[in-house]
Amino acid sequence: MRILAVLAALALVLALPFVLKPKENLLARADDELVIISPHNEAIRYEFSRAFGDYYKAKTGRTVRLDWRIVGGTSEIARYLQGEYFNAFQREWTSQGNAWTKEVSTEFFNPASTSPAREAFLKSNAGIGIDLFFGGGAFDFINQSKLGTLVDSGVIQAHPDWFTDAIIPQSVSGEPFYDPKGRWIGTCLSSFGICYNSDSLRRLGVTELPSSWNDLTNPKFAHQVALADPTKSGSIAKAFEMVIQQQMQEAVGTGEATPEALAEGWKRGMQLLLKASANSRYFSDAAGKVPMDVSLGDAAIGMCIDFYGRFQSEAVKIGDEPSRLQYFTPVGGSSVGVDPIGLLRGAPNPEVAREFIAFVLSLEGQKLWNFKIGTPGGPTKYALRRLPIRKDIYTPEYTAYRSDPETMPYEEARSFTYHEEWTGALFSALRFIMRVSCIDSHDEQIAAWHALIEAGFPPEATATFTDVSAIDYVTTKDVIRPALKGSTPLTEVQLAARLGEQFRAQYRKAQQLAKEGK
């Protein structure tokens, strides 16, 4: 009897997914195939699989199946591509009777190399069985282009009318939107901003609504800030760079960008990041964690990607009340970047791949990013809430169909101009600095910060805490960057240990001073 009851329960549980099984099967075999490696979520994959399938069928009369390869986030994808191409080229190289030496194995993947192996790789059709890399930040695509894993898809030549300032500009406010050589093209836009929980603000006694990055340093937010981890994602590192650039811009003002002004701006930016980090609970590598935690009140305020913030805000909204989760992009504090697509070297289905890129960039494909569910040409199951790259989607005729009709990213982008020459070369150094001064030293930093708050920010302790002379603009440019460039992995770790220990000592001292009331 008991056994029967158990078997019946088991049968019931197993039957449920069969009963609720969806009617259409997007995984079914088809005439043609397209293999895509992507960090995009299931909503985006679903809508593009469905819409492209219909489009392809209408255009060619053939069915197509999108085979998405999901290996994790962008850092896993980068590692995966590197490993796979290493093997692919090794096979190709040795099959031509060449010896696979240590030199070949390091040189062929080195963008700076001019060795025969490197040239052979760039000419080769060594493939990994995947056609497209879709999604991530421009940072990842620029990197892959440099390595040589991405090739020109030819879509820019095929559709020259799209690549104009009126539709897809080459760059906006200093950010590249596509690779002039055609190896990657932006498909939608994103930026970083701040989300906060209005209930938590009320509870913490913060009466003035946050409006800039500086608000993350408010001591009332001690242990209530959620930050994204700049060491695990290129786009997040970029957002940190923008925080610093904004301070540099303010230091420069309308005057000339003198080295002193830039150094002063860098210093202010660093101090801002140090304090925000001291307020923070964690540095998260999961894009969705910050808006989720803030909407649940586990953190009061945080730094997040625009569409995550907007989406989560709407998701926790109840009735007509304003949502407890609010999102904004700090004016003049964030640049607009792109989520690109690119053709991989040795793609097995290049024709279908080109067709897909063109579809994503066409008006039909672009509508999927931001149209509401069920609108003409819009998604059928998930509202994606992303911002399309094509300017002609932001025209009044589509306003009624868009999920975010008020958001005009091209207008927002005007309030900020990215100065490549100020910090572009320091991109890796910045990540390194954030790691040693904040992430690796987080416990000591937080302890010191709490001591400072308790003691009411006594001057000597505060000055010790905010001393960024070890990572100032000149030191970063002239010492840290060259050291990192010429370093082996081991010396880099040693440098991190040395600088990190310096910061931890500094924080311990600040804590001590604060306790003494100095």
């Binding site: 997914p17 969806p22 490993g83 240590k102 209930d199 909407s295 649940l296």
Partner: protein
Amino acid sequence: MNRQRISYGPIFVYAFTALFFLLFFALPIWETLGGAFRQNGKFTLDYIIEVFRNPIYLEGLWNSVQMAVYSTALTAAIALPLALLSDRYLFPGKSIFSALVLIPMILPPFVGAIGVKQILGQEGALNAFLETLHIIDPGHPIDWLGQSRMFGIVVMNALHLYPILYLNLVAALANVDPAMEEAAENLGCTGFRKFRRITLPLIMPGFFAGGIIVFIWSFTELGVPLMFDFSRVTSVQIFSGIKDIGGNPFPFALVAVMLVSTVILYALSKSLFGRASHAMMAKATSQGGPRPTSPLGGALIALFFAVITFLAVLPHLGVILVAFSRDWYGTILPSGWTLDHFSAALGHNLTLPSIQNSLKYASLATLVDLVLGIAIAYVVTRTRLPGRQILDAMAMLPLAVPGLVLAFGYLAMTQPGKLFSFMNPAVDPLMILVIAYSVRRLPYVVRSAAAGFQQTSVTLEEAAQNLGCPPFRALRKITLPLIAANLMAGGLLAFSFAMLEVSDSLILAQKMEDFPITKAIYELYNLLGDGRFIASALGVWAMCFLGICILGASLILGKKLGAIFRV
């Protein structure tokens, strides 16, 4: 069976298992970790030395050791009384509580954290409850996850892991010949002294088997410290190092250090606790077994079980309530209810194939584990082959290797052109996933089987052999049925954890039609907006399925299990 071949049996088993480990454990680790031992093409230990020079990595290692020691101690403090009470006494609801004991372990990944946060968050259920009772001020909720993090991690580990120790202890206690204790009593040794001098030494193999898994598990635990944002422990340091876009091989040196530390800690605990094993001959010489209790005593025991079980399943309750809720924020219970998340989760086009895949991968992996586990345990406990201790330690190591490291290793060794290219996961991940799952879950089966072998006297087999039964048949006919309970416990754990496996599944199952259920949960979890509700709903389905499997197994086999030990 051919007599000639059989005498070589143990050597063959030994060679085969060693080869399996070499190919599917050592090789993938070397594929990934190799970079930490190479500089400019030469072998180097500089990275390893650097780990010990670096204050934050040393602190991380020390914190990991502390985490493991405290978690194991607390786990023992929970599991030992539970196991003793359950072995000695009859009390109301005993069969239910014994069946429920594994449930705390079946917490699906990703959504487990949702459940915990929903309860312990600043606007979570616990604070809402305390506010309703006017114990805390709504303006100053307690930040449970942000304060005394080590304490929180230890409690969470213990409540999550005590079933492992409990199961091993119950199996060990069941193997204790009541005549031994009766003899002790006859000689005037009673009460705690009897427990310390007689019972504890007799159940030591089971205690060690469960304890070492708990110890290594909490030493390398990643999810719980991450939940508490406690970043200065080795597992989290490795995790963030591997995810760093800089691609420095240094984190792999940390992995190597962690591996070696695990071996040392394992050897240390084995020499301290694992040596003395007392095999018992007789199984059924007296009328032992649980005694009825007074009503009050029975109620107290039941209450003790109920409180521990309730605390341990709080995260599960959190997940279940999230799966049914429209919104849950700042209140004790969700503020609205719905079934929509279940139809969205189970009706998703990833779900059904992923369930089928998981069942396939996990059952095959469990089968592999049982065969390998019995073989390794046999070699270790029943033969005197040189180097068997190495095999024993090796079988424990999979617990100490971060899933990501092995997963990247498997990926590398199955590339086209490599030795195992025929297992390439981009073509069909079945073989490599089954191997990956089984390697990572092998320790449970090896430990349970070894504990069984140690407690069952070899003389029983020898008697059979004397009567003309070939060794293999003697093992199959005599010893294996005697240790069925141990195998069952190990196999169930292996199966459940294989169903809930994360790292290998995320990296190696790349095509949607090959996704196991954990990856489907992860994909749903990443949906914006409703993602956490839908993922929780699928997580609830997985919990139901595994829960029924485990309840069913213990109900169906419950009587038989008992019968094996005391007819």
